[in-house]
């Protein structure tokens, strides 16, 4: 990818016992990890060898990571590679920087309208993407910038869209809530609307006999929508390969989950659909749960529901300070003790995958990358202020209605003519 990891010079220094919580200052108990597949109870042999990206690491998650409903939760222990862990770190940092850039651009009035940031929730987009393939589908709500990036759109194209430029993923026609890219179906503005759509993506996967599934995300606020339950019903009835993912960030705009939901155990809401609650601030847990879910669906077991318990530091959108319905202490507490990026950073350092200095270098490199992409995006032109472009894309090219009307009849556009219908 874009950041280079300099791994040549660091040493392996693996503790063989669980690091005590008090020394880390993390609210949750942390994952332990051993390298080269040895168990945590044995001492690992320190080695001066270079660590390669392919080096297998065994992750041991704390038992609070999952809670199962009608299903055995995934194993707390799994293997991954150091390269994958590094990649997840870089991905999260880029998303964080990108979202912070959006914040600045919005305040500079270069982004207009609605802008919903996912600062604090980065682990979800990253954990899921690393657990699935390009064959799988993802769909979510308007809090979609991170997902668009993870599904393959460059930062520049995401930012260009937010700034209404022609080079944006939707050519400037959609904006923040309507980002699309290959295998990513938005970016949806109507709360909960994406849930039946995502169920339909799964229907199509099944129809075409594909070994793929649909990750359909929605929030705690959307979870009460009738169409969500209609989707659950059809998914279970027809054994559709859909992973329903509730990103529970505790607030639906300004309404705390307990004020909107008769039950806040969102992973149980599927009733007849098995569910797993996941620590949504830990990318390692998300990765494991998402992988489990994908395997579940693709092996023909039908739908699964994941609830990612997460948190957004910012308000619902740029118009919401986010402090009128929750305390600053709560926000600060989550930021300092549960941050997904800081959490993974700690693991990278503890595993000897990277030193503090190297991590700082990745951070700097990510910031630089995003800054460059911001500049590139800002240099992109908006769509030309032409009616021909206004009328483009209402219908698929070549299948338009004969005309489309502008604000007055003189501005009626004739597609066959490629010009105005009523002017000469």
């Amino acid at each position: 990818m874009l950041l280079s990891a300099t791994r040549n010079s660091h040493k392996v220094a693996i503790p063989s016992t669980v690091r005590l919580m008090s020394t880390i200052n993390m609210r949750r108990s942390m994952a332990t990890a051993t390298s080269n597949g040895t168990s945590s109870s044995t001492k690992a042999t320190p080695s001066e060898d270079n660590i390669s990206g392919d080096d297998v690491v065994t992750i041991n998650l704390p038992k609070e990571s999952f809670e199962g409903y009608m299903v055995e939760p995934p194993s707390l222990s799994y293997k991954t590679t150091k390269g994958e862990l590094l990649q997840m770190y870089k991905d999260m940092v880029i998303i964080r920087r990108m979202e912070m850039a959006c914040d600045a651009l919005y305040k500079a009035k270069k982004i207009r309208g609605f802008c919903h940031l996912s600062v604090g929730q980065e682990a979800i987009a990253v954990g899921i993407e690393n657990a699935i393939t390009k064959m799988d589908s993802v769909i979510t709500s308007y809090r979609c910038h991170g997902f668009t990036y993870m599904r393959g759109a460059p930062v520049k194209s995401v930012l260009a869209e937010l700034m209404g430029r022609r080079a944006g993923v939707s050519h400037g026609k959609g904006g923040s809530m309507h980002l699309y890219t290959s295998g990513f179906y938005g970016g949806n503005g109507i709360v909960g609307g994406q849930v039946p759509l995502g169920t339909g993506l799964a229907f199509a996967h099944q129809y075409k006999n594909e070994d793929a599934c649909s990750f359909t995300l929605y929030g705690d606020g959307a979870s009460n929508q009738g169409q969500v339950f209609e989707s659950f019903n059809m998914a279970k009835l027809w054994n559709l390969p859909v992973v329903f993912c509730c990103e529970n960030n505790r607030y639906g705009m300004g309404t705390a989950a307990s004020r909107s939901s008769a039950t806040t155990e969102y992973y149980k809401r599927g009733q007849y659909i098995p569910g797993i609650k996941v620590n949504g601030m830990d990318v390692l847990s998300i990765y494991q749960a998402s992988k489990f879910a994908k395997d579940w669906c693709v092996s023909g077991k039908g739908p699964l529901l994941l609830e990612y318990e997460t948190y957004r530091y910012g308000g619902h959108s740029m118009s919401d300070p986010g402090t009128t319905y929750r305390t600053r202490e709560e926000i600060q507490n989550m930021r300092s003790k549960n941050d997904p990026i800081a959490g993974l950073k700690m693991h990278l350092i503890d595993l000897g995958i990277a030193t503090e200095a190297e991590v700082k270098a990745y951070d700097k490199s990510a910031r630089k990358h995003v800054d460059e992409q911001v500049e590139l995006a800002d240099a992109c032109a908006p769509p030309e202020a032409k009616l021909s472009i206004l009328f483009e894309d209402v219908y698929v090219k070549g299948s338009e209605t004969p005309t489309l009307r502008g604000r007055i009849s003189e501005d009626t556009w004739d597609f066959q003519k490629g010009g105005f219908a009523n002017r000469d």
Partner: protein, 369 residues
């Protein structure tokens, strides 16, 4: 697998001049539309059925989804025999959850399938309207042309008989206003075949408004219309030529307009031209302008509520075009009444257009007693 061939009655009449005498509203009457040396007739129901069968046969991505479409053979039997022929994968029965299954079908379309969504009645589509408008119609635009949504929403629209207020509304004006949708309104069997096949092949979302009372009506169909590749352009058709007044209408109101035209000719010597719009969006404004320039008088007929309806749109279009200069009288609209549809027949008869009302409208603008 057995496959029921749609009932086609061949009627051979060579060299006969076809007239269209006044008819009663009987279930299976034959309306002549054209002169031909050999005539095949087909009901609208069979026209729709055969159209869907051919499109399912032609393209594996096409499938039908809706309530009772499979095992029940269709609430109005429009999908009869299709489950037997094509199987459960292609003809899907849903729970009674319009919002959910419409969204599901739109999602499948986003991923490249080509669903045909049946609404048992478009009255139930209101529950699903967010997906028709916000998820289907607008997506190609919002995505800057990168995300297609090929889907057909079809079902009965408008009044039946005695089904009362919640089951009788006509949605042509509402859907007609949405950019990104196409809205088709077939009348005859040939319309039904050609327009439905075109709609299914159209890469855009199409709302296809049928009429329950037309399903059983038989119409002559041309040889051409029986071809599996027969499609119709979304353009109006002149059902009856005339020179004194233009009656512009669609769906079942074409039948009443043709009846009215007969009455006008026989009793008043008025020659009425009847235009079958076939399409609400795009609206064939060219055809409307042409007929107004020809007859200088215009009556529109629709079953929607009177306010903000299709007739209103036609009047506005005429006002804004050079056809305005050709009008010898203001345009007159015949619409549904401004009431939720009543149940008692005596009252329901006042709720929707019929031939006598259309005759009244024409006489009014022609200043005939």
């Amino acid at each position: 697998m057995s496959f029921k061939v749609p009932f086609i009655k061949k009627v051979v009449q060579s060299g006969t001049t076809l007239t269209s005498p006044m008819r009663q509203s009987l279930p299976s009457r034959i309306i002549s539309c054209r002169m031909a040396s050999s005539k095949t007739t087909m009901t609208v129901r069979d026209a729709l059925n055969s159209a869907m069968a051919e499109e399912l046969d032609r393209d594996d991505d096409v499938f039908i989804i809706g309530e009772e479409v499979a095992q029940y053979n269709g609430a109005y039997k429009v999908t009869k025999g299709l489950l037997d022929r094509f199987g459960e994968r292609r003809v899907v029965d849903t729970p009674i959850t319009e919002y959910g299954f419409t969204g599901l079908a739109v999602g499948a379309a986003l991923k490249g399938l080509k669903p045909i969504v049946e609404f048992m009645s478009f009255n139930f589509s209101m529950q699903a309207m967010d997906h028709i408008v916000n998820s289907a119609a607008k997506t190609h635009y919002m995505s800057g042309g990168t995300q297609k949504c090929q889907i057909t929403f079809r079902g009965t629209n408008g009044s039946a008989v005695g089904v009362a207020a919640q089951h009788s509304q006509d949605y042509s004006a509402w859907y007609g206003s949405i950019p990104g949708l196409k809205v088709l309104v077939p009348y005859s069997a040939e319309d039904a075949r050609g327009l439905l096949k075109a709609a299914i092949r159209d890469p855009n979302p199409v709302v296809f408004l049928e009429n329950e009372l037309l399903y059983g009506e038989s119409f002559e169909v041309s040889e051409e219309a029986l071809s599996p590749d027969f499609t119709l352009p979304y353009k109006a058709k002149v059902e009856r030529e005339g020179k004194d007044v233009s009656i512009v209408t669609y769906t079942r109101n074409v039948q009443f307009s043709l009846e009215a035209a007969e009455i006008l000719e026989k009793e008043h010597g008025i020659s009425a031209e009847v235009i079958n719009l076939r399409s609400i969006r795009p609206l064939d404004v060219e055809a409307i302008i042409k007929t107004v320039k020809k007859t200088n008088h215009l009556v529109t007929v629709e079953s929607t509520f009177p306010s903000f309806g299709v007739g209103s749109e036609i009047v506005a279009q005429v006002m804004e075009s050079d056809a305005f200069d050709y009008l010898d009288a203001p345009v007159k609209r015949v619409t549904g009444a401004d009431v939720p549809t009543p149940y008692a027949k005596e009252l329901e008869d006042f709720a929707f257009p019929d031939a006598p009302t259309i005759v009244r409208a024409v006489k009014d603008i022609l200043s005939v007693e």
